[in-house]
């Protein structure tokens, strides 16, 4: 099967169209603009709908409207734009509307810069808006996964009636790699809850209001039940060279790629390093983390943030083992050499602590 | 004769219909409904032209119904 060399940003748009997405609403922001640009071309050329909105606030509400009318919908943005979408994302969750949102993370807080960070983790994985809700969050680490995950996201969104995030970063989006445009074109089905403006759907209501505490509580409990089901059914991760691990990197996105190289570099030096790469961070692969922790295998979280995912790792490790944190902020990325020397230093410290 | 049917329990006593009726066919009833509002009553069938202004200005969907006298089969 032939492949095309393309950027992760472009691959996402290909994945969306193959995933049956019919409506893309966008607003420019570096480093996610290329996704909207590619969508403007491909969605229009394919007779689907691309519209540039007046703001991210409008974008997320256009998604809300199109999803209410049963469409498979999508947008892409970066931290500041996702933050503006917060209320709309909460409404989507409250009204149980399926949607797909890509966050190409950049450095913050504030305007920050356009280099990669992973500092939107809490905002995206823990909801981002008001109220008790979660988003399924997929974390691709290659252009191919930008394609695959985006395509799959529409099925997940429809199945669980919730927002699916593609939590990526500036590097994964900018990077060109060979991508295979695979699989049949998926299509959304008619939804019995959507509002189509016809007699069949006339009684339907899209809303997130439950006036009494008892009804609101029931609604919240149903949402939580869906999230527990998602935790059982959707969790996904990759284990790399993990059978004989003496230390396990935990990383996603571009950092997982760097750790992949660091695993090889450490093994060349006789240290049996491994990699746990979450492909979903909600649901978080806590069982596999817990398993390593119980076996006393130290975990090294490598993350472009203050430790937002590391907190989830620590929670799952539950004090059973050391959770090392190799954190970088501001748009810089750790080098393979830096990771190798950090691991050597920390393993030595751990070893001497154990033997003393 | 024409007639305006008032559902007492849906009337909130705002009196807008009383104020707009060109013929003065409606008035406050002096009685309270179960919500506690003084509802209107229709009392002047002879003058009513079934113009519908009372109905159109009333904020409630079905507190008032205007019936017109006409040939029926």
């Amino acid at each position: 099967m032939g492949k095309r060399l393309m950027k992760g940003n472009e691959a996402a748009v290909h994945g969306a169209l193959m995933g049956g997405c019919t409506h893309f609403f966008g607003y420019p922001i570096t480093p996610a603009s290329e996704i909207s640009q590619a969508a403007a071309y491909y969605f229009t050329a394919a007779g689907r709908t691309f519209l540039q909105a007046e703001s991210e606030v409008s974008v997320i509400n256009m998604l809300y409207g199109a999803a209410s009318a049963g469409a498979r919908v999508m947008t892409a943005s970066s931290g500041p734009g996702i933050a503006l979408m917060g209320e709309g994302l909460s409404y989507l969750a409250g009204a149980k509307l399926p949607s797909v949102v890509i966050d190409m993370q950049r450095a913050g807080p504030g305007l920050g810069n356009i280099w990669p960070e992973q500092s939107d983790y809490n905002m995206v994985v823990k909801g981002g808006g008001h109220g008790n809700y979660s988003n399924i969050t997929l974390t691709p680490a290659s252009a191919q996964e930008m394609f695959d995950f985006t395509r799959k996201a529409f099925e997940l969104a429809d199945r669980y009636r919730m927002t699916v995030f593609i939590l990526s970063d500036a590097y994964i989006g900018q990077m060109m790699e060979p991508v295979e445009i695979s699989g049949p074109v998926l299509h959304g089905q008619r939804k019995d809850w959507a509002v189509y403006g016809d007699s069949q759907s006339r009684k339907n209501l899209i809303s997130s209001i439950y006036m009494s505490p008892a009804l609101q509580r029931k609604h919240n409990e149903e949402l939580q039940q869906t999230y527990r089901q998602v935790e059982q059914e959707v969790v996904d991760y990759e284990l790399y060279m993990a059978d004989d691990a003496e230390i396990v990197f935990v990383a996603y996105g571009i950092v997982a790629r760097i750790c992949h190289s660091a695993v090889h570099a450490l093994r060349e030096q006789g240290i049996r390093a491994s990699l746990l790469r979450p492909k979903t961070v909600f649901p978080f692969p806590k069982n596999v983390v817990e398993d390593f922790a119980k076996r006393g295998i130290p975990l090294a979280v490598v993350e472009l943030s203050s430790g937002q995912m590391a907190d989830d790792v620590s929670l799952a490790a539950n004090g059973n083992v050391e959770v090392l944190r190799y954190l970088t902020m501001g748009g810089e990325t750790p080098t393979v050499a830096e990771l190798v020397s950090s691991v050597r230093r920390d393993l030595a410290t751990l070893g001497s602590r154990r033997s003393s | 004769m024409n007639h305006v049917r008032v559902r007492d329990d849906e009337c909130k006593g705002c009196a807008v219909c009383v104020s707009v009726c060109p013929k003065g066919c409606l008035a406050m009833s002096g009685k309270l409904n179960t919500m506690g509002y003084e509802y209107v009553h229709f009392f002047h069938e002879e003058a009513c032209t079934a113009c519908g202004l009372c109905f159109l200005s009333c904020p409630e969907p079905s507190a008032l119904t205007v019936l017109a006298e006409q040939e029926v089969e």
Binding site: L5, S55, I181 | A15, E60
Partner: protein, 478 residues
């Protein structure tokens, strides 16, 4: 026979009973004398008359009318505060035959949602907007709205609305008039029977426009809020009639006869591609064959650097495309952003027999420098025994490192001699691939057309590859 028949009564477009508090009710949640109830009846009546109940999707905003969906037996969507025009846009662009009604109050439309309404109007979304102007935030208990008159006391203007502090009352119909796209703009009132009948007509017209796909219709309706105004329902209407209309003059602002369908657009609406055509579109023409004959001796960690406009990124793309066409694992990662504009540019390319781990090339074993600053920046980062290619047409100094293999090649000069102003990148890539033996020359020639943007220069580029090879041979480099 003479009998009585119903001439005015409850609309079919309303539910029989309202389940707002769990049990069927007949009356609304509105206060006595509220304008919302009156206006919503007019809308329901128009839906009945136009026979569009099945097609209607009613958007309930945040505000007193948030519960409209309890009353309308139509499709219903409850929206966040101010965003109904954006939601309506999403709906209408999904179900084009639906009749989409955005019903918004003044805080919703003229305050928090000003952006959404202006842009939906400007796009000429073929929807119907009913703007209920009662000059107050009702649902939250009576705070100042953008439309509150000067001097009016509200909960947040306890001493009256002040021009300097709070600004002037906002005239939305006038603002709409400043936008070219809307086809129908009217301001009316429910203060008197006469105005009420005009409102009924405007509501009807605004919906008929949508049925006819004419475009964006906007009806501003002055409406009483007796509760928050502190007036009796009758007095509130009198005040509206005598005072509020001075501030907000009634009348039609626009009634275009042209149908949206009759207006020439800039573009034809593209056809919906079926699955097969879609896959063809996405796979494109860039599918390249996979035919690697021999293994790569060493993973290539390539850094190409120069200034913007030297074709640094496309040089990288050419290398990566060559690698991919040979079935190698490849990655291409640019430096990007503001620094790319007029400044320096660099790209990291990896060619490998196995999956590429980090696409970041911290320590290249191949460096292609197109200008002086790039050599200064990257010279110290390359590994021992790296291949360093220097564009000697531009870079005047020599490489200081003695533990690397350096190749000086006047790439800019060779390109210009070949009649190509900006093809020094092709010279550099050719030199690299030939000397490193990473990619055969034939593959390079096959891949140039896949990457080259200006197809007219293909022949010249291919002969430049030959010329570069001759130069290297003449100078004993290969």
């Amino acid at each position: 026979m003479i009998g009585q028949v119903q001439k005015f009564g409850k609309s079919d477009s309303f539910y029989d009973t309202y389940e707002r508090k769990g049990e069927g009710e007949q009356s609304t949640h509105y206060c006595p004398g509220c304008g919302h109830g009156t206006i919503q009846k007019l809308i329901a009546q128009a839906i009945d008359d136009l026979k569009i109940q099945d097609r209607t999707i009613f958007l309930s905003p945040v505000g007193c009318s948030v519960f409209a969906y309890y009353y309308y037996d139509t499709g219903n969507i409850q929206c966040s505060h101010g965003r109904a025009p954006a939601v309506a846009t999403g709906v209408k662009r999904t179900v084009k035959d639906a009749i989409v009604i955005s019903y918004q109050g003044d805080g919703d439309l003229a305050g928090i949602g000003m952006t959404e309404i202006v842009h939906a109007a400007n796009r000429g979304e073929p929807i119907t907007v009913f703007f209920i102007n009662n000059a107050i935030y009702g649902m939250t208990g009576g705070q100042m709205a953008p439309t509150t008159p000067l001097g009016r006391k509200t909960l947040t203007t306890p001493f009256g609305r002040d021009r300097d502090r709070d600004g002037m009352p906002m005239g939305m119909a006038e603002l709409m008039q400043a936008i070219a796209a809307p086809v129908f703009i009217e301001r009316c009132s429910v203060a008197t029977p006469k105005e009420l009948l005009k409102t009924r007509k405007a509501v009807h017209k605004a919906l008929q426009n949508q049925i006819d796909n004419k475009g964006f219709s906007f009806v501003e309706i002055l409406s009483p809020c007796p509760t928050n105004w502190g007036m009796s329902p009758v007095d509130a209407r009198t005040w509206m009639d005598q005072q509020m209309t001075l501030l907000y003059p009634l009348g039609n602002f626009r009634d275009s006869v042209t149908k949206q369908d009759d207006r020439p657009g800039d573009q034809e609406e593209p056809l919906w591609l079926d699955d097969e055509a879609l896959v063809d579109l996405l796979k494109g023409a860039s599918d390249v064959p996979v035919m690697r004959m021999e293994p790569l001796s060493e993973t290539q960690r390539v850094k190409i650097a120069g200034f913007g406009g030297q074709g640094v990124l496309s040089a990288g793309e050419l290398v990566a495309t060559c690698g991919m066409s040979e079935g190698l694992a490849v990655s291409w990662l640019p430096s990007y952003g503001p620094e790319m504009r007029g400044g320096s540019a660099n790209v990291s390319v990896t060619l490998s027999m196995e999956d590429v781990g980090s696409p970041l090339v911290d320590h290249p074993n191949v460096l292609l420098v197109m200008n002086g600053p790039s050599l200064d920046h990257f010279e110290d980062q390359v590994v021992e025994n790296a291949l360093v290619f220097v564009n000697s047409s531009i870079v005047t100094r020599k490489v200081r490192r003695t533990d690397v293999r350096t190749i000086y090649i006047p790439a800019t000069d060779l390109a210009q001699e070949a009649g190509l102003v900006s093809a020094a990148n092709v010279v550099m890539v050719t030199a690299y691939l030939l000397l490193s033996k990473a990619i055969p020359l034939d593959t390079l020639k096959r891949c140039i057309p896949l990457v080259l943007r200006k197809k007219a220069f293909l022949e010249k580029n291919l002969s430049l590859v030959e010329r570069t090879m001759v130069y290297l041979q003449e100078n004993g480099m290969v």
